[in-house]
């Protein structure tokens, strides 16, 4: 049979093994924050996507788009935040316009786009534009509005400058 000394030694070893067990239980829970920290530190949180760049961008040439703004009989202050933007055909860009209603009453207006040369209009592909809907501004209100667009990579190669112009017309209240 086992001697008391032997039993004591067994209990000591059991104690050590229980420490490992409890430590590993803690380790299981510690893995949750550890994964996040280690992956962030090593920058390996994402699968590297190979060759998924936008193949529609024609990086071989640049197009300069000049941004113009005007009003038709409205005392609005309307301007583009940049004078022009240089881009590759196919590349999606965002530009911003700012408009201020200087009139002492709320005004509803609609912007109409124009391009020069006018044939360029079919190559300017807009995803988001303030010209898609009426804009109603309270008296003295200022608003910044984005235009998200690209110049199609089908645009002719000699079309290296496009003037993009917006003009606001007041929308008169109709009977409807």
């Amino acid at each position: 049979m086992m001697t008391p000394a032997q039993e004591l030694e067994n209990k000591r070893l059991m104690g050590k093994l229980l420490v490992i067990t409890v430590a590993m239980l803690g380790f299981g829970f510690a893995m949750v924050p550890m994964y996040k920290q280690i992956c962030d530190a090593l920058g390996i949180t994402q699968t590297r996507v190979v060759g998924a760049g936008n193949t529609q961008v024609d990086a071989s040439r640049d197009v300069t788009v000049e941004l113009l703004a005007s009003n038709a009989g409205l005392p609005w202050r309307f301007e583009a935040l940049e004078r022009s933007v240089k881009l590759h055909p196919g590349e999606l860009v965002t530009v911003r316009y700012r408009v201020q209603n200087n009139l002492g009453r709320p005004v509803t207006a609609h912007a109409v786009m124009n391009t020069a040369p006018s044939v360029a209009a079919r190559y300017v592909e807009k995803q988001e534009c303030f010209c898609f809907s009426n804009q109603t501004l309270a008296a003295g209100e200022t608003r910044e509005m984005p235009v998200v667009f690209r110049v199609s990579s089908n645009a002719p190669r000699d079309m290296d400058v496009i003037s993009l112009s917006y003009t606001f017309f007041e929308v008169k209240a109709s009977g409807a």
């Binding site: 049979m1 086992m2 032997q6 030694e9 067994n10 070893l13 059991m14 093994l17 229980l18 490992i20 067990t21 409890v22 590993m24 239980l25 803690g26 380790f27 299981g28 829970f29 893995m31 949750v32 994964y35 390996i44 949180t45 994402q46 699968t47 590297r48």
Partner: protein, 535 residues
């Protein structure tokens, strides 16, 4: 007894009979209260066999449904429950307890100890299995049916199902506690209770593999317990470890689960390596080739098992660097595994081999496990795995390593030690019949699943496209041959326990560990109360 050391001394056991007055009590209380390692080992093995038949019945129901395309026998939800509980029952109910049963029977005898270090805890480790099994199988009868998420218990599915999930989680907790207690017992027994002269590097390889397995168990079962606890609190206590709606990450569960899950794979195969390493030298009548390298290879496999979990999740969107790391680390494991395979072959080389049933199962193990190992190497290749992930190729792979690996080794071990345990020889003719039925049935069932997987048949779905019909029908036929031939195994074991030719003390002339050289057949209830001296 204490001086009986010579390998051929079979008379040294006479003193053992002096202790027979302290025999087991009769009836149920013998098994309820027993602290005897042999009784507990027997109970583990019977429990394992009962679970094996239960999990096997589920597998046959799965194969019956898959005999034809379309839905014939079971509802899809019930089919998913079958695959889930089949996996859990086989892993935690059949394979693992069977190896613990072997450890209980053999570790004390092979190192010359009287019993396990903590006999009372040993009793607890076993009896905890019963409520766990009842919870697991009983979950079929609660509203919503048993867990249907696959045995890997992935969220978010597992967070959404009914109370059967809570029963499954509790069952996993209890099984984990049982395994940890068993492991502490085995490690303490091996490190503290070896007979004088039994140095670590003289231990039989079965003891070595169990020592390493037990360390793996206490390292990873608590991690699984933590993972399922997090599932439980996500379900009921408002935490969001894995619940994306609350900022959690479902793939985090996969990382934690497989940190447990891959060492678990080796927990289920290392003791099988140990059993085979006892059997092949016995029937080749040569000592094991490369004993020390076997020990080091086993340790290397155990250590490497902690850094390969990612190969189970190549498709979740890990960074390329991660995928590459897990791919190379996984392939590295083939090196120590190859060392083992070649050592077994070298042991047989120019040996005086005979092919009794244990040897047949051991050689069957060697051939089929190698096939499973190679398909594992195929799956380790990241780009290949992305194609084969969750197909029947994976199902074929892990059944080759777990059925023809772990289970064949268990059967080999049963045939090998049954004469020692019962004192009777099993029927060699029936044993060989059982082997060949199992061998043929298994390969007919699972080899075609490689083809199905390569052709793109996904796993865990009760229906399939028409072009997969023929191989599925062949697979089902094989599964039924394999399944029903296990009833023959049951018959052989029972009739061997009841009677049969008297087994000699050293049943196999090439077997040289202490239970063969120092103990009679059948082994008395108490053995090695005075430790033998090993030279």
């Amino acid at each position: 007894m204490s001086t009986a050391t010579h390998a051929h001394d079979t008379h040294g056991h006479d003193h053992a009979h002096a202790h027979d007055h302290h025999g087991p009590p009769a009836g149920f209380s013998r098994w309820m209260y027993t602290t005897n390692h042999k009784d507990i080992g027997t109970m583990y093995l019977w429990f394992s066999f009962a679970m094996f038949l239960m999990g096997g019945s589920m597998a046959l129901l799965i194969r019956a449904e898959l005999f034809q395309p379309g839905l014939q026998l079971v509802e899809p939800q019930f089919f998913n429950s079958l695959t889930t509980v089949h996996g859990l029952v086989m892993v935690f109910g059949a394979i693992m307890p069977a190896f613990v049963g072997f450890a209980n029977w053999l570790v004390p005898m092979q190192i010359g100890a009287a019993d396990m270090a903590f006999p009372r805890m040993n009793n607890w480790s076993f009896w905890l299995l019963i409520p766990a099994a009842l919870l697991l199988v009983g979950s079929f009868f609660v509203p919503g049916g048993a867990a249907a998420s696959g045995w890997t218990l992935y969220p978010p599915l597992i967070i959404q199902q009914g109370m059967s999930i809570d029963m499954t989680i509790l069952a996993v907790h209890i099984l984990g506690a049982s395994s940890i207690m068993g492991s502490i017992n085995i490690i303490t027994t091996i490190l503290n209770l070896r007979a004088p002269g039994m140095t670590l590097m003289k231990m039989p390889l079965f003891v070595w593999t169990w020592l390493i397995t037990a360390y793996l168990l206490i390292a990873v079962m608590p991690v699984l317990a933590g993972a399922v606890t997090m599932l439980l609190t996500d379900r009921h206590f408002g935490t969001s470890f894995f619940n994306a709606a609350g900022g959690g990450d479902p793939t985090m569960f996969m990382h934690i689960f497989w940190f447990f899950g891959h060492p678990e794979v080796y927990i289920m195969i290392l003791p099988a390596f140990g059993i085979v390493s006892q059997i092949i030298p016995a029937f080749a009548r040569k000592p094991l080739f490369g004993y020390a390298s076997m020990v080091y290879a086993t340790s290397s496999i155990a250590i490497l098992s902690f850094i390969v979990w990612g190969h189970h999740m190549f498709t979740v969107g890990m960074p390329a660097a991660g995928n590459l790391f897990f791919m190379y680390a996984t392939m590295l494991i083939a090196v120590p595994t190859g060392v083992k395979i070649f050592n077994w072959i070298a042991t047989m080389w120019k040996g005086s081999m005979t092919f009794e049933t244990p040897m047949l199962f051991a050689v069957g193990f060697l051939c089929l496990f190698t096939i499973g190992g190679f398909s594992g190497l195929v799956l380790a290749i990241t780009p290949v795995d992305i194609t084969l992930h969750n197909t029947y190729y994976v199902v074929a792979h892990f059944h080759y390593v777990l059925v023809s690996g772990a289970l064949f080794a268990i059967m080999a071990g049963i045939y090998f030690w049954l004469p020692k345990w019962t004192g009777h020889m099993y029927s060699e003719g029936l044993g060989k019949l059982h082997f060949w039925l199992s061998m043929i049935g298994f390969n007919v069932a699972f080899f075609p699943q490689h083809f199905l997987g390569l052709a793109g048949m996904p796993r865990r779905i009760p229906d399939y496209a028409l072009q997969f019909t023929e191989w599925n029908q062949i697979s089902t036929v094989g599964a039924f041959i394999f399944g029903f031939s296990q009833l023959l195994f049951l018959y052989i074991v029972i009739s061997t326990i009841r009677g049969g030719a008297k087994a000699p003390d050293r049943t196999w002339e090439g077997a040289d560990s202490l239970e063969w050289t120092h103990l009679p057949s059948p082994v008395p209830y108490h053995t090695f109360e005075t430790a033998p001296v090993v030279k």
